[in-house]
Amino acid sequence: MDDENIITQLSIFVNNEPGRLAGVASILKDANVNMKECNLAESTEFGILRALVDDPEEAFERIRSRGLIAKKTAIIGVRIEDAPGALFSAASVLGRAGINIEYGYAYAGKNVEAFLIRVDDPGKAVLALKAAGVPLVKRSEI
């Protein structure tokens, strides 16, 4: 999937106990991983840290080698600065294409503001959104 609109997110399992997130953050720091965005989804006893980093491939190997449970996830970003209703139009396009949105979160970077979404078929989602004229974030803009 070498699509410029597909962004690699690192997802990291974090136990929901005092100091655990600090522990994970410290491993990321020691591994020299620079987080540009992070989002924490949580359940009762665990959370999932979702992060956008410089060089996700390299960061993934480094944090895995330090014993963290992690995976790489392909996500896409819908630009939201252009006009009101961008998220609505993206969601309707995906709905019509039968693509399920698993979760999403907002991203505000130096260059771009976007709603990042995790879908079950990112390649198909990019094609559908592009065809409908929904503006997408490029990987290089994050």
Partner: protein, 423 residues
């Protein structure tokens, strides 16, 4: 019955049982041959020590019915309890087996003064578990009015207790304490607002401290009842003197053996309990190692009954846990977990008591490749593990997912169970 006469009766029953097993049970004949003993060698009750032991593992290896000594046409009921791993232990009963079981319970109920003027609420589980149906038939035999309420829905149970003027209840000690808590919350004072006078409590260990608490807070008398699911569930109880469990010696022969040498101990000494069911037809038990620790009491009971008396059960010689009255082996938990591919090989069990109820918390490490970035997937995995455990153990377990490496590793023997309950 004088003690000498009882010994004679027990000997004759034992000898008949040994003859029968030698002739009809391939498994046990093999065991006796291996031990170099023939039924003819059993010339007195003391010769019982020549006979080989039976264990729960034997029952598992001969699952489900290879230990039976009667054809299926003679079996009138099955019960099942948790096995040590995977398969449960199945026990079959002939008509006479149920008859002796009912007889034992009828004697027990009579010995605590429960009879036809009583209404007995049976709050043990009905079904494969032996408690509910066992007490049910015993209570009917003495003519008590039975309320077969089984377990669960405590508010409704209390409502029935009040409305039907229940005078006695049979359940686990922790359940009656829980009932009392719920009653208070509902504004019911069991002492003042119900007719409850007696409780027959068993299926899990309890202490004299708990008895005092139960008796004083509810204004009732509480009696200990004993049984093991491999024999026939609850059978024998204390009498009104509450000074030891009266064991019907014509039905069950109890030996107390040294925990290390397995040599017989004098009465009054604590050791491992070994049980022989003298009358069992469908699945006879000779020298079954129950793995409970207890002693046989010396002296006579003030009630006048001459039957042997068993002390409180003070422990186990294996790692079996009793959670809300249900027997659970850590090996069963491990067996269940190892069949779930997403689960790693480390887990930790913590048992706590909240109010009167036991809670089991199981922390499991998940495998790297089982990790999903979707919370929903992880929650589903957790629910799946909980469902599987519930299916195999028959108890609710709270599961917590842990990352690999989060749980302690052990050098040597792993200590995966932390029983934090205070009795």
């Amino acid at each position: 019955m004088p003690k000498g006469d009882l010994k004679d009766l027990q000997y004759r029953s034992l000898r008949a049982l040994a003859d029968k097993l030698y002739d009809f049970n391939q498994f046990y004949r093999g065991r006796m041959k291996a031990a170099g003993v023939r039924p003819d060698d059993i010339r007195s009750l003391d010769d019982i020590v020549k006979l080989p032991f039976m264990t729960k593992e034997d029952l598992r290896e001969n699952y489900p019915t290879k230990m039976f000594t009667v054809p299926n046409s003679e079996i009138v009921r099955f019960h099942a309890s948790s096995g040590t791993s995977g398969k449960p232990t199945v026990v079959g009963y002939t008509h006479n087996d149920l008859e002796y079981w009912t007889e034992a319970l009828a004697r027990s109920l009579t010995s605590v003064g429960i009879g036809k003027d009583d209404t007995l609420q049976v709050s043990y589980g009905y079904g494969l578990f032996t408690g509910g149906l066992g007490l049910h038939y015993g209570a009917e035999r003495v003519g008590a009015s039975v309320v077969p309420s089984s377990t669960g829905n405590t508010e409704r149970q209390l409502e029935l207790m009040q409305d039907l003027d229940v005078t006695a209840i049979a359940c686990t000690p922790s359940y009656i304490i829980h009932m009392n808590t719920v009653a208070k919350r509902m504004g019911i004072d069991i002492k003042r607002d119900t007719c409850l006078k007696k409780a027959i409590l068993g299926a899990e260990p309890w202490t004299s401290g708990m008895r005092k608490h139960i008796e004083e807070s509810m204004g009732i008398r509480a009696y200990d009842i004993y049984g093991t699911s491999e024999q026939a569930g609850p059978m024998f109880s204390e009498c009104e003197e509450t000074n030891g469990i009266h064991v019907g010696g014509d039905i069950m022969l109890i030996e107390i053996l040294d925990r290390d040498t397995l040599e017989p101990l004098e009465d009054g000494n604590e050791g491992e309990m070994v049980v022989t069911m003298l009358k069992k037809e469908a699945m006879p038990m000779i020298r079954f190692r129950v793995k409970d620790v207890a002693s046989l009491m010396t002296g006579d009971c003030a009630c006048g009954r001459t039957s042997p008396r068993l002390s409180r059960i003070t422990g186990r010689t294996d790692d079996m846990l009793i959670i809300r009255g249900i027997n659970v082996f850590p090996s069963q938990i491990e067996y269940t977990l190892m069949r779930i591919p997403e689960v790693g090989d480390q887990y930790l069990i913590a048992i706590t008591r909240e109010g009167a109820l036991d809670n089991m918390l199981l922390q499991v490490e998940i495998r790297q490749d089982a990790f999903s970035d979707k919370v929903e997937d992880m929650v589903r995995l957790r629910a799946h593990i909980e469902t599987e455990l519930r299916r195999y153990l028959n108890i609710a377990v709270t599961v917590e997912l842990k990352a690999p490496g989060e749980l302690p590793r052990f050098e040597g023997k792993a200590k995966r169970v932390m029983d934090k309950r205070v009795y």
